[in-house]
Symmetry: C2
Subunit: 442 residues, 2 copies
């Protein structure tokens, strides 16, 4: 064992090539420069940027890149004998990013990436490629920004059988829901505001439709449960349909609405789902507001654990990228998902959303006239859905005489709820598509 | 680099000797047995218990120890050629525990320990001993039970200059304060209850007087800031003097009282202090209740981060012990405090409690008679302490006609506050020793 301690302490610098110089790339450059002596002391050797690459050399901002060797072609950078490790910050599940990661790994060079889309779709194959070439693929920055949750699960909680992971993994969605609650403005209005403030992209669908969170959840589930990535079985719903009304009713009922990414290892297999959820006020995750991310984990020995921090931004994400580089410099090698691909449990069945058993919140806009509540009650009864609370709020107004009806159910299966919802949606008195939100106990 | 990946994947078992078979020791045995295949898969090799030792063989409970080789003398176990790594769970800052750790390290064998007292007092020397013998000393279980906070700081946040760490590090104290708030019972009553429930020791002073938290803070500060351990400069106050009254007033003022362990790297040097603190209701740490622990960290790139989990108990602590063993089995070697002892910044000055600058809460029991408020105000003014709020509660009652007066101050230096406090304590109308609690902004 002794040789390993010595080799981690050797003084050969780790020569880094960075591809992609957006917010995270320039943040990583700034960090590596600003903390060079500290990092050398911690890693036992220098971390030196020995090459950079980006789409347009002239457009790189906020950091002086002249001092670094420039590569027009990131693959040429990977191929350069004076590059030991490649940092892929280009993004995208295909194209250059994928080609670059494959190239570097094939050459036996470790790769650090923040690319959740790539790994959610091709993570198993890339992990296998890394193993075949006896090198390392690392992705701390791909999930929850600065929070060391990949390390937390893969190493810190390595002694546990993880049974559940609940995450607030998309800062944009969490910011929007927090703002809607605080300002009581509509989703559309708050989204526009978030776009102006730079918290949401011009095309926000990746964030607000749950896809980004589903990518991250896919990785967390694989690390937590030791299973191959399986993005296509994640059930995904976004937050576009949440109204200020729902946020108010949630508060009244003692809940807060969060876009939760949930992975559970249950009796029917592995559940993976992303959808708006009502969680009790008192839950730690309920109080994670704004652009913060959080991950709640249940393990058989560690019990419940929560990690909270900034889920995006140049600084926090660079913190995660460089943590991976320090680990590589220290000589830590670990399979991407904590276990070699060959032993990942690919036989675990998928428990689809139809396996969910739990409580539901339903908000309807109905005509304010006699008999509506009876019709709703009958539809629920016909599908064996047991109502816990039901209330009509205010008196009808507007051209349709519309009034909200809110109900919560006792715990039950998803299929029955869906059947009941279908029947209710078809009632003539129901004026808009109902808003269904799952209640998660946490 | 390739050889490291292969060597971590070799199939030679890691042979473990465990000394100390109390709650954590038996928990560790149970975990290693229950998860043997999972751990072998994650670590790339088997983790095998090849020896156990405890004070009294007959008294080991809850786990069948016959199958393990027994050592009456833990030092003989460390010396045994068929033991690769020693797990020290004996406890205590001197005596057998210390001798065992020294022995194992001197033989070049890695040590995993949960012993915060030992490391808070002798951590630097032991880390140096480990380095000299090219081996590893690990202590994830020594701080915050199952929360991987040592790993989080030393590896997960290795890219950051850490500026502050705030911890709820003693579950017993946090349980007592939470119970006092919920039941409005006295400290003494709740302590007795906690002792009956097994949450507090028969001699509780280690926990409730802040010493245990100070041990843990000492380790966190060394890992966070890269400095030698310095337990003797930690300012320590416990929670014995907190009355239900203070908890009520805190709530009224928008605060919650927590026994906080605080380490800050500020302009005057490193602050290390453990004392009851009022923190805003909205702070994440304010909502960490009962036996849970939490650590809040500020770093220059990662920004704010919080880790929450179970701080004690056989399961969570075993989770941390075995995480260290998995790391060793994987071939991860890292200096105890993240940097070799030789480069720890021993020149950092200590910023004692007298350097604190902040707000204060003060609760007095005074005679309900005219002029008392004027006298208190004058004492504060004479020492340049600016009062933010002051209120007298109710009318006097009891033999002394006693009534509580509560005040909060604007931010200011500790020395002035202490002088003012001394003057106020000397006022004839002040009937009991005042209760001073620092308000921390967080």
């Amino acid at each position: 064992m002794r040789n390993k301690m010595s080799s981690a302490q050797n003084s050969i610098p780790l020569r880094i090539g960075i591809a992609g110089l957006g917010t995270v790339g320039t943040g990583t450059l700034a960090l590596l420069e600003q903390h060079a002596p500290l990092l050398a002391s911690r890693a036992g050797r220098s971390l030196v940027v020995n090459g950079v690459s980006a789409r347009q050399r002239q457009r790189v901002r906020g950091v002086a890149i002249e001092r670094y060797r420039w590569f027009d072609d990131p693959l040429a950078m990977a191929n350069d004998p004076e590059i030991d490790v490649v940092v892929e910050l280009i993004g995208g599940s295909e194209g250059v990013a994928k080609a670059l990661v494959e190239k570097a790994l094939s050459l036996g060079k470790p790769v650090v990436t923040a690319n959740k889309a790539l790994l959610a779709l091709s993570g198993t194959a890339l992990a296998e490629l890394a193993e075949r070439h006896e090198t390392s693929l690392r992705c701390e920055a791909a999930v929850a920004g600065g929070i060391p949750i990949i390390k937390g699960l893969r190493e810190g909680l390595a002694a546990n059988r993880i049974t559940a992971v609940y995450g607030i993994l998309n800062g944009t969605s969490n910011f929007i829901l927090s703002q809607m609650r605080q300002t009581r403005q509509s989703f559309a209005h708050v989204l526009e505001e978030a776009q102006r403030a730079g918290y949401a992209e011009a095309d926000p669908s990746f964030d607000i439709d749950g896809i980004d969170a589903a990518h991250k959840l896919t990785l967390l589930a694989s690390v937590a449960f030791g299973v191959p990535v399986d993005f296509h079985t994640v059930h995904v719903e976004g937050i576009r349909h949440i109204a200020p009304l729902d946020i108010d009713f949630a508060e009244e009922l003692g809940y807060r609405i969060k876009l939760l990414a949930i992975a559970r290892h249950g009796p029917h297999g592995i559940e993976r789902r992303v959808h708006p959820s009502m969680i009790p006020h008192s839950a730690t995750l309920a109080n994670v507001e704004g652009v913060f991310n959080a991950v709640y984990v249940e393990g058989d020995f560690c019990d419940r654990m929560t990690f909270i921090g900034r889920g995006a931004g140049g600084g926090p994400t660079a913190s995660a990228v460089v943590a991976d580089l320090v680990d590589l410099a220290r000589g830590y090698y670990c399979p991407l998902f904590g276990e070699p691909v060959a032993v990942l449990t690919s036989s675990s069945p998928v428990a689809g959303i139809e396996r969910r058993f739990g409580e539901y919140y339903l908000r309807l806009m109905v005509s304010d006239r006699p008999g509506v509540i009876a019709d709703i009650g009958a539809a629920m009864r016909d599908h064996d859905v047991s109502i816990e609370k039901l209330s009509q709020h205010g008196r009808g107004a507007g051209p349709y005489n519309a009034v909200p009806v809110v109900l919560t159910t006792h715990a039950q299966g998803e299929p029955a709820m869906r059947q009941a919802l279908k029947a209710i949606s078809a009632l003539p008195a129901v004026l808009e598509p109902p808003c269904l939100i799952r209640i998660e106990a946490l």
